[in-house]
């Protein structure tokens, strides 16, 4: 391998610093003993302890977790079905329109999605709260699941399903015993992606929230406006850890599956 030049090393270091320095500072300051956020007072896990007594933050975290679980599961179900329809049912009428529309939430500014959902909920006279946030997050994250599952389905060898049917397996059972186990890694990583996206969404949640359904990002945002408290740093660190874990396991899962497949086709 070629030795990295000083230019490469510097640009890599600068790039990584640009991305991760703010996060590193936040993590470090979450272990700060001092009450003043900007002054270092030695190492301490004090704010993690205080966090346990901060009911407002804890209940917000609980709401966020529930929203993320519900919306990620709904988005995974809908997104997988969409991917199957797009890949499997050939050139049905309006397929092009449908498949490009699926990507709209990926590129649409969240403010616009949020506003239009708010208008919809108001027009339909839906009481805003937990379920409206969950629905909003499902709309956003469904397309991510579709993209992930779709790419796996496109690479899927159809003769596997034909072989199963040839051996006497009816279509639905073929899907459950052959197709589903083989695309499961994509479905799981789609779920994790949806979960993470829902976990840290502020914009959609603040548009579609109602009384009693404050998510963690909303709580953090409103508290920061009154000044950063050390507990916020602590809860943010936990949030980063959860998100990182989800992303890393999702990508590991996909990697492992790919390695297995490459071996299979070798």
């Amino acid at each position: 391998m070629r030795r990295a030049s000083w230019f490469n090393v510097t640009s890599l270091a600068l790039g990584l610093a640009f991305l991760y320095l703010p996060i590193a500072i936040l993590v470090i300051y979450s272990f700060n003993a001092s009450r003043l956020v900007t002054i270092w007072g030695g190492w301490s896990t004090r704010w993690y302890g205080e966090l346990l007594h901060n009911d407002a933050l804890l209940s917000a975290a609980w709401v966020t977790l529930r929203v993320a679980l519900v919306s990620a599961s709904a988005a995974t179900l809908l997104g997988t079905l969409t991917a199957i329809a797009l890949v499997r049912y050939g050139r049905f009428r309006g397929r092009i329109v449908f498949s490009s529309m699926i990507y709209a939430p990926l590129v649409m500014p969240e403010v616009i999605t949020g506003l239009s959902l708010l208008l919809l909920f108001v027009a339909a006279d839906v009481e805003r709260g937990f379920w409206t946030i969950a629905i909003a997050h499902t709309t956003l994250t469904m397309c991510f699941v579709t993209v992930v599952v779709q790419s796996r389905l496109v690479a899927f060898d159809r003769s596997l399903e034909e072989a199963a049917m040839d051996l006497g397996c009816p279509p639905l059972r073929t899907f459950l015993t052959v197709t589903l186990p083989l695309i499961a890694p994509a479905i799981i990583s789609g779920w994790m992606l949806a979960f993470t996206l829902s976990l840290d969404d502020l914009v959609l949640a603040s548009f579609t929230t109602g009384p009693g359904a404050t998510t963690l990002p909303i709580r953090v945002y409103s508290e920061v406006r009154l000044g950063v408290k050390p507990e916020i740093n602590a809860i943010c660190t936990i949030l980063i850890a959860v998100a990182a874990l989800a992303i890393v396991s999702a990508s590991l899962l996909t990697k492992l599956h790919d390695v297995g497949r490459q071996r299979a086709t070798r």
Partner: protein, 365 residues
């Protein structure tokens, strides 16, 4: 014919295609095709890619439905029966082994669908693995096997249900030449031992000639000729088949006289004595002579005179290109039974070509 088994094409057919057509967006893949396949037969569908042979096989498996016509199995119309209810199993070109199941569970898959008791499934899987020389591989995943082993697993999986007909879609395309030849003979032994009917699709004529009792040569969705390998090779009934199967010299000419024991054809290369045919003087015909049926001798004499313009040495055979004095270039294949140094014919030498009249066929289409 490899196994020496005589197949009577007039016996009651196990599989019958009756005027079957299938087209994709207006283009006919299979065109009003009729064919009978007899019980216990090893039948090969042979043709260039895109000739419709795979479509025909997939219709028999149930993955495609014919637009018109019927497919009968044991006298029953199965055209509308879905693939999972047909007593027909297929071995796929890609093998299509389930990557998430081990070898034993791949083979057991078809039996599980029948809801057989566990003990019987296990016994039959073990028996099949033994037959395919795969004992001890039951716990391996497909990606841990070699190409040849994977092929045997695929074969075991498609045979374990004891299908009425086993369909083989280019089963040896992924194997190297040596393994392919071994597998061909193994397939023939297997068919004989199990007494099943095999239908193989291949574009490899050597493979088709080796394994099959009868072959059907296909082109543009139609069967051009059906017969034993010897019939197809020795008695092709069209220029296309003569040219597709093996090497051939095709010489265009006009019938001078036609009798019960020979046909005399005038061509640019000279007058040709060919086998008897149903032609009359004045007909435009083609004479087909296989390169190995031509005898080459130095010097002059009776026959077509010409000059050697190229020699290809293949080890067991030598190929000569001879330009006849009339113009056309003919290919001659000579078995190298003597040592190279003892062979008398060299480049640019004058030679005479002779043949037995019966080995020169007169083709009208």
């Amino acid at each position: 014919m490899g196994t020496g088994v005589q197949i009577d094409p007039a016996a009651r057919p196990l599989v019958r295609f009756e005027g079957v057509s299938k087209s994709y967006s207006g283009v006919a893949a299979v065109d009003a095709l009729s064919l009978d396949i007899v019980e216990g037969e090893f039948f090969a569908l042979l043709g260039p890619s895109g000739c419709g042979k795979t479509t025909l096989l997939r219709m028999l498996a149930g993955f495609e439905t014919p637009d018109t016509g019927r497919i009968l199995l044991d006298g029953q119309d199965i055209s509308a029966v879905p693939p999972y209810r047909r007593p027909v199993n297929m071995m796929f070109q890609s093998y299509a082994l389930f990557p998430h199941l081990n070898v034993a569970r791949n083979v057991a898959f078809g039996l599980q669908q029948e809801g057989l008791p566990r003990a019987e499934i296990d016994a039959r899987v073990q028996e099949m693995l033994a037959l395919m020389r795969l004992q001890g591989y039951g716990d391996r995943k497909p990606h841990q096997l070699s190409g040849g082993q994977r092929q045997r697993v695929a074969l075991a999986r498609s045979l374990v249900k004891r299908p009425r007909v086993l369909l083989l879609d280019e089963p040896m395309a992924a194997l190297d030449k040596k393994l392919r030849q071994e597998t061909q003979f193994e397939l023939m032994r297997l068919r004989e031992r199990l007494g099943l009917t095999f239908v193989i699709v291949t574009h490899d004529q050597e493979e088709a000639m080796t394994v099959a009792h009868r072959l059907g040569v296909m082109n543009h969705g139609a069967l051009i000729q059906v017969g034993t390998p010897a019939e197809i090779y020795e008695q092709p009934d069209s220029r296309w088949v003569a040219d597709f199967i093996g090497d051939v010299n095709l010489i265009e000419g006009q019938v001078m006289s036609s009798s019960t024991d020979a046909t005399l054809v005038a061509s640019a290369a000279g007058d040709i004595r060919a086998a008897a045919s149903r032609t009359s003087p004045g007909d435009n015909v083609w004479v087909a002579i296989r390169p190995e049926k031509l005898h080459i001798a130095a010097g002059g004499g009776d026959g077509l005179a010409g000059e050697v313009i190229a020699i290809g040495y293949l080890g067991d055979l030598s190929h000569y290109q001879v330009r006849t004095d009339g113009g056309p270039v003919l290919k001659v294949a000579v078995a190298n039974v003597t040592r190279l140094s003892e062979r008398p014919i060299g480049l640019h030498q004058r030679v005479t070509l002779t043949w037995a009249a019966a080995s020169a066929l007169v083709l009208t289409r």
